[in-house]
């Protein structure tokens, strides 16, 4: 049993709904039509491509291909994070890539092995789908976290240096920045955990129910995945920062100017 298939014609009929937002934009002279249409086009293309390659990946179900695919996803996530900050992509790519890879794989292994109890931990259906959810959902938090640290450092560099001059170690001087960044990165997820199920049913659960799962199974998956996402986000903010220290600070503990774009 699965969800009822949607024919291509029906998909097209769904696109007709877009007339509503486009009409609204036209009426109220909001200049978003172009970006809306290009985003819809990208979404359609990317998702259809995903549909195609997922079919193959599920058919092959090869551990190495699965891990390779996971790494491609991590690369995409890293680039997305760095593009959304004003940080130098070349200098920080490796730290963020490693941090994402380590956190996702660590949490994924625990999740698939201990929580779900899979026999093949790197089974494609679980690795790609759960891994994708962990990455996608921790992306926002990671961006917020990373941005917060380096924005604050840029804004109050003199305060950071003052702490160093007062005898602080690099970690002592950086502690408040890390604390704030964890707060900013994680507070939205904490808030959404508290209201989940009241306002909306999250996508994963909806999908599972449409796919024919028992709602209780869907609920349990949703709860566990939320906790896993939260873990990935918090670990990722910390690890990204720790890894980026080498690229971002010189050996005297002073932040390198080249870490930001436009330098």
């Amino acid at each position: 049993m699965g969800a009822k298939d949607i024919s291509l014609i029906s998909v097209f009929l769904c696109f007709l709904l877009l007339i509503v937002p486009v009409a609204i934009f036209l009426r109220f002279k909001v200049q978003l039509i172009k970006s809306l249409l290009s985003s819809v086009a990208r979404m359609t293309l990317q998702l259809f491509l995903a549909g195609v390659y997922l079919q193959f990946i599920f058919r092959w179900n090869n551990v190495f291909i699965n891990i390779l695919w996971l790494m491609i996803m991590v690369t995409a996530a890293t680039i997305t994070v760095l593009r959304s900050t004003n940080l130098n992509i070349r200098k920080l790519f490796l730290s963020i890539f490693c941090s994402f890879l380590i956190t996702v794989i660590a949490v994924l292994v625990y999740f698939n092995w201990v929580v779900i109890g899979l026999e093949v931990i790197f089974d494609s259906r679980y690795v790609i789908v759960i891994g994708g959810m962990l990455l996608g959902n921790s992306l926002r938090g990671s961006i917020v976290g990373l941005n917060s640290i380096y924005q604050q450092l840029k804004k109050s560099e003199s305060c950071y240096l003052y702490c160093l001059a007062g005898g602080a170690t690099k970690f002592e001087a950086l502690m408040p920045y890390l604390q704030d960044s964890l707060k900013f990165a994680l507070m939205p997820t904490i808030a959404s955990m508290a209201t989940i199920g009241l306002v909306h049913l999250p996508g994963m659960m909806t999908g599972q129910i449409l796919g024919g799962s028992n709602p209780m199974v869907a609920v349990k998956y949703q709860i566990t995945i939320m906790i896993a996402i939260f873990t990935v986000t918090s670990l990722n903010v910390v690890l990204t920062f720790l890894f980026s220290i080498y690229a971002s600070f010189n050996r005297y503990g002073v932040i390198k100017k080249g870490i930001w774009k436009n330098h």
Partner: protein, 216 residues
């Protein structure tokens, strides 16, 4: 043994401004006034001794040992630095002080009693501790920075324009206080001539210690 020494130090800050061939020695217990116009590079000298600006050429010494990225941390724990414009942020003064004193190197200092004494000495009420640092006037911020530097109980001071926002009376008091610390080594950066009136202070005019300034 000299406390600080610079040997033929040059630094490129940006394409428009370079500092070339600085030679400077600061002996123990000496009070050195680096005097000069703003923009002449006085602050840069202090920042170089703290490892915040790395010279492109030449050598810097602290207690006859060349400064490098390993011993700089020890240097920073022996030196008290009061910076020129130091906005520590939107937190109460009390927390600013507690934070600085919570660093491992400062953790053993008993400072609560001293804090009250210094507030009294520099004519600030106890209530100032509950105000947010960023809400203080420039002069009040300066006094708080000075008090923190004294609480650290260190013997070497790098003082960057510490009296620029103070009224004459308080300025004299601060100047006299630092000049009277016989055991302390001090580098005082200022464009205020009144420091020169003290006879145990050695004045170095900053424009004269740079061999050359380059303007492209």
């Amino acid at each position: 043994m000299s406390i600080f020494k610079a040997e033929q130090v040059s630094v490129n800050l940006d394409p428009k401004f370079s500092v070339l061939d600085l030679n400077l020695t600061v002996e123990e217990k000496e009070k050195i006034l680096l005097f000069g116009k703003s923009g002449s590079g006085k602050t840069t000298i202090l920042k170089m001794f703290l490892g915040f600006v790395i010279p492109s050429q030449g050598k810097l010494f602290f207690r006859d040992e060349e400064i490098n990225c390993r011993n700089i941390w020890d240097l920073r724990s022996q030196v008290s630095y009061v910076s020129q414009n130091n906005n520590i942020g939107d937190i109460p003064v009390k927390e600013v002080i507690d934070r600085i004193m919570s660093f491992k190197v400062n953790r053993n200092i008993q400072y609560k009693h001293k804090l009250n004494q210094y507030l009294d000495l520099f004519e600030k009420p106890l209530e100032i501790l509950d105000k947010e640092f960023s809400d203080l006037s420039g002069g009040e911020q300066q006094i708080i920075n000075i008090i923190i530097s004294l609480l650290l109980e260190r013997k070497i001071f790098l003082l960057d324009e510490i009296t620029s926002s103070l009224d004459v009376e308080l300025k004299n008091k601060v100047q006299r206080y630092f000049i009277q610390q016989e055991q302390c080594t001090e580098i005082i950066v200022s464009h205020d001539q009144s420091w020169m009136e003290f006879n145990n202070i050695k004045t170095i005019t900053v424009d004269s210690i740079w061999a050359q300034k380059i303007y492209h």
